[in-house]
């Protein structure tokens, strides 16, 4: 009885196991332990959280493999790591050290301004960001096994996460009411592969798991994204840039499970200490926004 590894079913399957959960950015093995103890379903290992990448400026690259390996040793939950858009060698390195998921991320400085990685060539699964359904389906066409809406990372402002989730889920709702003969024209409008547009219509949802990301800072933010219809939540700077990371992390985990129960949401929102300071996206110069990276 032969065993097949690296199939799309097992790539997509790990994302299905993460549903209803919170994936947290961590920069040290100690952070990773705090995240796991708080109930994170996975961690994203990186050298700097997006808020610090913004503050530091310069070129943001894949993290040191040694740091990622130390984080992998510290926890039993899946460990993800980021590579630059189009930087397939960073992805090869991350696959070689055995990370569980690669985020081809706009948070890092893009290495290719026209093309993303051909993700079909890898055994390790990829998650990619999107701002709308067309971008999501292009990434899936390239082999992504999980999607996250981009939001605006490192701001603590949920407005862009809401905009992108509404765009994606709204387009799916429109699609499900379309006649079959309208799909080719809609695929052209979206800039998305026809077969994936057709599959999305038949499923009535994105063909892979779809998380929210970019600006989630409170339990209420997380539950908002869940009620809008995403499958789970990434929290980047929102936890370890806050006053009491362990408590806030546990509260956000509970808020994602009980996202429809306002009395539990009220309970977990109490006494969490200072949230991350945050930056108002509407007052941010266009050049500082990173969600536009991705083609």
């Amino acid at each position: 009885m032969e065993q097949q590894t690296g199939t799309f079913a097992v790539k997509k399957g790990l994302a299905q196991m993460l549903k209803g959960g919170v994936i947290m950015d961590v920069v040290t093995p100690e952070h990773a332990k705090i995240a796991e103890d708080a109930g994170a379903c996975a961690v994203m290992a990186l050298e700097r959280v997006p808020a610090d990448i913004r503050a530091n400026g310069g070129v943001a690259r894949m993290s040191d493999p040694d740091l990622i390996l130390k984080i992998m040793d510290a926890v039993t939950i899946p460990v993800m790591a980021k590579c630059r858009i189009g930087h397939f060698v960073e992805a090869q390195i991350l696959e070689a050290i055995g990370v569980d998921y690669i985020d081809e991320s706009e948070v890092l400085t893009p290495a290719d301004e026209a093309n993303h990685i051909n993700k079909h060539l890898f055994k390790v699964p990829f998650v990619c960001g999107c701002r709308n359904l067309g971008e999501a389906l292009r990434r899936i066409g390239e082999g992504a096994a999980m999607i996250r809406t981009k939001g605006e990372a490192g701001t603590g402002d949920v407005v862009e996460a809401v905009r992108h989730a509404r765009a994606v889920l709204g387009d799916i709702r429109r699609l499900t009411t379309m006649a079959d003969e309208e799909l080719m024209s809609f695929a052209k409008e979206l800039g998305a592969p026809y077969e994936l547009v057709k599959e999305t219509k038949e499923l009535g949802r994105m063909p892979v798991v779809n998380f929210a990301a970019g600006g989630v800072a409170t339990p209420a933010d997380a539950a908002l994204m869940m009620q809008l219809g995403v499958d789970g939540v990434f929290v980047g700077s929102g936890i370890f840039k806050s006053g009491d990371p362990a408590k806030r992390a546990a509260a956000i985990v509970k808020a994602v499970t009980h996202y429809q129960d306002a009395s539990i949401l009220a309970e977990v929102s109490k006494n969490l200490g200072e949230p991350m300071v945050g930056r108002n996206v509407s007052q941010m110069p266009e050049a500082e926004k990173i969600a536009g990276r991705g083609w």
Binding site: Q3, V10, Q16, G21, K254, V256, T257
Partner: protein
């Protein structure tokens, strides 16, 4: 018949979709009062540490143990870990099945795999001779069974991936990620 699916975290929606295909009434279980009136419960795949912590936080441990005394429960992957007696590390466990489990026993995600299994009980119960195509995601193995727990399935190298103890069922793999309903049908026969 009404089957609950523990919806703390993980792929509970996939189990609910399978049960709906089999025309079974289902509900999501997040709090102890949601167990009322159920004939059986599925604990889905997900992260066993996350599921365990949330079960402790919302006082589900004892109600689940009491439920297991009289009702069928099936755990897939993280669910199987959560039902076991021992995983050799400190995390909340229901300890309702006499199985010892090793987490992530096949390696990391790049080692996740699909394989055909020969499961005599499933063939007998469903009258189908087809092998069972199973999906393993960062899967645990059942290191050993004791008491009246029995082995249902093993992979080619002999490692145990499914076990049953009376009306309790544990699988390392994910029937909810396939379109094959035989395992869900088998579980429903235990809940009936």
């Amino acid at each position: 018949m009404k089957i609950g699916v523990l919806a703390l975290q993980g792929d509970f929606a996939e189990h609910i979709a399978m049960l709906k295909r089999l025309k079974v009434e289902t509900t999501e279980v997040r709090l102890p009062e949601h167990l009322k009136g159920l004939d059986g419960l599925i604990i889905p795949g997900g992260e066993s540490t996350t599921i365990g912590k949330l079960a402790v936080a919302y006082n589900l441990m004892e109600p689940l143990r009491t439920f297991a005394q009289r009702h069928a429960i099936w755990g897939t992957c993280a669910g199987a870990i959560f039902m076991s007696k021992d995983v050799r590390r400190d995390q909340p466990l229901l300890s309702i099945m006499d199985i010892r489990v090793e987490r992530n026993a096949f390696g990391r995600q790049v080692d996740s795999f699909e394989a055909d299994l020969d499961i005599p009980e499933l063939k007998q119960a469903t009258g189908s001779k087809e092998p069972y195509h199973a999906i393993f995601i960062r899967a645990p193995i059942i290191e050993s069974v004791s008491g009246d727990a029995k082995i249902l399935a093993s992979v080619a190298d002999g490692r145990i991936v499914a076990a049953q103890q009376g009306h309790l069922l544990a699988t390392s793999f994910h029937p909810e990620l396939t379109t094959d309903t035989r395992f869900h049908e088998y579980f429903l026969s235990l809940a009936d």
